[in-house]
């Protein structure tokens, strides 16, 4: 009886703790069923969007850990990336070389933007989220001023492709085809079964080596069940991919941009690494309690500034990866919703204003874009109206932030009540 009760309590706590994510998993599955999409098409679409957007979402993690909430000002990072693209496109440097130059150029711009953002947020402590949101709008105004008015008047620029025919201001869309489009994505691509096979083999190798090393150190006990699960999951994945390779499934036609995936992995590793350093410890300390950090002699303003600068640079690079995949840059629009969409994705993954992990970021990207892909079709199939599907899509983007913030608040209340009981 008691065990049953405990189990009930445990499941209840699990559901309350992961309420937001669970609701969106359910919505995603329902949406997929009602959309009538084929699995390969859906997976392909999802992969494209994951590789496109993950970096931007990962850029949000560090400020959350530093106690600065959700950094809506990654919009400024995206702008820094676009500034670099405009310059490099104007110079006519293309391909991988052009893309690397973009990454290099974006860094100083993003650092300056990040410094300014961080300085502002240090002056608006406790209201960072609304401050960064409004800062994004304000920066957008300045951005338009520079590229719509100053180009051709104050900043001399002669380029028929980029500049409007009047000679003043940049064109609304810039085509990156023949420029940096697919610069990274097309370096090396593998079909989905091959990618899955190599991932699973690498995972199995990694676990085996770790297991072998740990045997010598007598710590086998610490790594049994979890690793066993991973190992068998990898094995299943390998078997599945070998099976698919021998059929004429559509999966064999779909290809994954390996370098982009590696870049995402690298940023994940970077985040993990940072949190294990002195800087990371300072970040966490400031995030947990600024006052105590200050008393302990940590310069909390500087730490917060660093967090925002790192976040802005990552966002700039994220926007570069995003645009090289998209292939066209909407000069005045591409950056606008970056903050909103990334934050919505992070929140769906189960992160909150004060806690975020890499897993939550990646899961969030998957769930958010699942909804994005399936909702218009599902809306049409269920309600018989394409317009309704479109509406649902807009709802997913904006409503999600409000909804998940609200659900987090609700969750907190329930947890407070539960802790009283227990």
């Amino acid at each position: 009886m008691i065990e049953k009760k405990e189990l009930m309590e445990k499941t209840k706590r699990f559901f309350v703790g992961n309420m937001v994510t669970i609701v969106f998993v359910a919505l995603g599955i329902l949406g997929f069923i009602y959309s009538g999409l084929s699995l390969p098409f859906f997976v392909n679409e999802l992969f494209i969007r994951i590789t496109r957007n993950s970096l931007l979402v990962l850029a949000l993690i560090i400020p959350v850990l530093a106690g600065m909430g959700l950094n809506f000002a990654i919009v400024l990072g995206a702008m820094a990336g676009q500034v670099a693209i405009i310059v490099v496109t104007h110079w006519g440097i293309v391909g991988v070389k052009g893309f690397l130059l973009c990454m290099l150029l974006a860094v100083p711009v993003a650092l300056i933007f990040g410094y300014l953002t961080g300085s502002l947020l240090n002056k608006t402590k406790g209201k960072e989220m609304i401050a960064s949101l409004i800062l994004g709008f304000f920066a957008n105004g300045l951005y338009q001023l520079v590229f719509l008015i100053f180009i051709g008047t104050i900043i001399p620029m002669q380029n028929e492709v980029l500049v409007l025919s009047s000679g003043v201001g940049l064109r609304v869309t810039i085509d990156l085809t023949g420029g940096i489009k697919y610069a990274i994505d097309h370096i090396w691509r593998l079909t989905i079964p091959w990618a899955a096979l190599s991932t699973s083999i690498l995972t199995m190798l990694y676990i085996s080596i770790k297991f072998y090393l740990s045997k010598t150190r007598k710590t086998i006990k610490q790594m049994t069940t979890a690793h066993l699960y991973y190992f068998s999951a990898a094995m299943l994945l390998a078997l599945w991919s070998i099976y698919i390779m021998n059929t004429d499934s559509l999966f064999n036609m779909l290809r994954v941009p390996i370098i982009t995936v590696l870049a995402i992995l690298l940023v994940c590793l970077f985040t993990v690494f940072i949190m294990k350093t002195k800087l990371g410890q300072d970040l966490k300390t400031v995030g947990q309690d600024r006052h105590i950090a200050t008393v302990a002699g940590i310069n909390s303003n500087k730490v917060r500034l660093t967090a925002i600068m790192i976040s802005t640079v990552l966002a700039a690079w994220g926007q570069l990866f995003f645009l090289q995949n998209l292939g066209t840059m909407s000069t005045y629009g591409s950056h606008e919703q970056v903050g909103m969409f990334s934050i919505a994705a992070l929140l769906i993954g189960g992160a909150s204003v004060s806690k975020a992990t890499i897993g939550q970021a990646l899961l969030g990207v998957v769930l958010f874009h699942t909804l994005f892909i399936v909702s218009p079709l599902a809306g049409r199939n269920v309600f018989g109206d394409a317009q309704l599907g479109e509406f649902f899509r807009a709802f997913v983007a904006y409503g999600v932030i409000g909804l998940s913030l609200g659900m987090h608040a609700w969750k907190k209340q329930i947890q407070a009540r539960n802790s009283l009981k227990g």
Partner: protein, 535 residues
């Protein structure tokens, strides 16, 4: 060692805040390996003296100080708290400087983490060195062992008992390698008696390792127990420096307040025939840390009823539950009428007033004037002090001012004017503002929780006198909850001792110390039940 073995000397320290002299030539000399107590009422200058020692910015922003600080034979000028740490001056804070989400190790090593090189840090600098958790826990273990704490160093601080947190804080200070002087700022204020005992033992151990300890406290018996030397401050002046074996508690108390302490006069002529004004049946209150678990109690009209017991046993939860501040179940009857539970408004309507134990958190609007603090509850719940203009109401400033200045005079609240904000008042005066507000409600039952917590000796007596006066002159029933048994015994007619969320027993204040002790420890019922069985 140089300079007669004194590790720290503060010579002729004076300090002025905007022309107001708060320290007048204080001399303080501390030897290595001694516990030096600093006694004084609030406002005597203890905190200013410590602020100077720590180089707090508030000192330098207001024109610095006069005098000389000599540490280990060298005159030093401390300009910031970080510099103070570098000089080897540490502080165990009154409010904990611990991060709940961190392990004990991480807290002990806060901003002093041991790091190791990696490839990235070689290029980008020290900030990117990785933490060496192994070495860190080794150091933490050593510090905990010194204090004889057998808790594991990787345990998270969140959820630990308060007594342990204090020890983690101390472990952090003694882990600092160059520590010479350690300041304990009222360390026992938040501890239970047994925890406080452990702390005092730990202090003795630290002193034996050659560190000088400055011990700031209100509790005279603790001073007598551990301090080697005692410096007493009053109104910014040095009153006396005494050796432990040359003085006693009475003398210290006298030196501190500058007037004799007498026992509060208590009226004896209470009859048992008075009616029951409050009866509590099977009360349960979900107050975290102070849970009440099925308590029954009866209080007669016109009594001063004391509620005592150790911290965490639930005595604080009773008044909070009756006032509807925490989820409550059970049955409460006031003057024959049932009280609606979980409903603060109904409690106020039944003429119950409450002076909270959490003065700064719950009791006061800290950035609001004294007069508004006094009348706000009455305005909300009784509709007094307002003028009505048809649908609209306006605050009646004249009436409020008159009432507030009357209260200020009655209760002797020391302030510049009734418009002063309450944040800057001393603890005792803040407490009096809370009492004034409760009185403005004209209650028949007054709950007072920990009325003298964090208040100096002089103000304590005034607060207690006030309560007795209210009881005598207005016939008000007062239910007073306090951790200080001596205080309860000096004013109450009856004292209920709470143990594990229930009444362990009710005693008269003249009952023996043994009975009180047994009840506090929760052993009284057990012993007497056993006695019954034997008979």
């Amino acid at each position: 060692m140089k300079n007669n073995d004194y590790i720290l000397q503060m010579k002729k320290i004076s300090k002025e805040y905007y022309g107001n002299r708060v320290l007048k030539g204080i001399d303080l000399s501390v030897k290595a390996g001694e516990i030096h107590a600093i006694l004084g009422e609030n406002g005597a200058g203890k905190s200013t003296l410590m602020n100077i020692l720590f180089g707090m910015t508030v000192i330098h922003e207001t024109g610095g100080y006069e005098g000389e600080i000599v540490l280990d034979g060298e005159t030093i000028n401390i300009k910031s708290p970080v510099e103070a740490l570098d000089f080897g001056i540490g502080m165990v804070h009154q409010e904990f400087m611990l991060i709940p989400g961190y392990s004990i190790t991480e807290n002990i090593k806060l901003n002093r983490e041991i790091t190791k090189e990696n490839i990235v840090s070689k290029i980008f600098g020290d900030k990117l060195k990785t933490l060496n958790l192994k070495e860190m826990s080794k150091d933490a273990r050593k510090a905990l062992d010194t204090l004889e704490m057998d808790i594991d160093e990787w345990v998270k601080v969140a959820g630990m008992p308060i007594g342990y947190m204090q020890f983690v804080e101390i472990a952090r200070e003694i882990d600092k390698k160059n520590i010479k002087v350690l300041v304990f700022d009222e360390p026992t204020a938040v501890l239970t008696e047994s925890e406080a005992d452990n702390l005092l033992k730990a202090m003795v151990k630290i002193k034996e390792s050659g560190i000088a300890i400055l011990f700031i406290t209100h509790r005279l018996d603790e001073v007598m127990e551990v301090a080697d030397n005692i410096t007493i401050l009053r109104d910014g002046e040095l009153v006396a420096t005494k050796k432990n074996n040359e003085t006693n508690v009475m003398e210290l108390a006298e030196l501190m307040v500058g007037r004799k302490i007498e026992k509060v006069a208590r009226s004896k002529e209470k009859q048992d025939t008075a009616e029951t004004i409050l009866s509590i049946n099977n009360l349960k209150v979900m107050m975290p840390g102070e849970e009440v678990k099925g308590l029954s109690l009866e209080v007669k009209a016109g009594e001063i009823f004391g509620i005592g017991g150790l911290a965490g046993q639930g005595k604080i939860g009773i008044a909070n539950g009756i006032m509807g501040l925490y989820p409550t179940s059970g049955e409460i009857t006031i003057e024959g009428e049932k009280l609606k539970l979980n409903n603060p408004q109904d409690a106020l309507k039944k003429n119950i007033a409450f002076v909270s134990e959490d003065r700064r958190g719950m009791g006061l609007l800290l950035d609001t004037s004294i007069e508004m603090n006094i009348v706000i509850t009455s305005i909300q719940n009784k509709g007094t002090f307002i003028k009505k203009f048809g649908l609209f109401t306006q605050i009646n400033n004249k009436e409020i001012k008159a009432h507030a200045s009357n209260m200020i005079k009655e209760l002797d609240i020391r302030c510049r004017s009734e418009k002063q904000v309450t944040r800057r008042l001393s603890g005792g005066n803040q407490q009096k503002v809370c009492i004034a507000r409760a009185l403005t409600l004209e209650p028949t039952i007054l709950f007072v929780s920990e009325p003298t917590r964090g208040i100096d000796v002089g103000a304590k007596k005034l607060v207690l006198d006030t309560l007795v006066k209210l009881n005598k002159e207005l016939g008000m029933t007062i239910i007073m909850t306090s951790s200080e048994l001596a205080e309860l015994r000096s004013v109450c007619d009856k004292i209920a001792i709470i143990s594990e969320g229930k009444v362990e027993g009710i005693l008269s204040p003249d009952a023996s110390d043994v009975d009180f002790g047994l009840m506090m420890a929760g052993e009284y019922k057990k012993m007497h039940n056993k006695g019954d069985e034997l008979q």
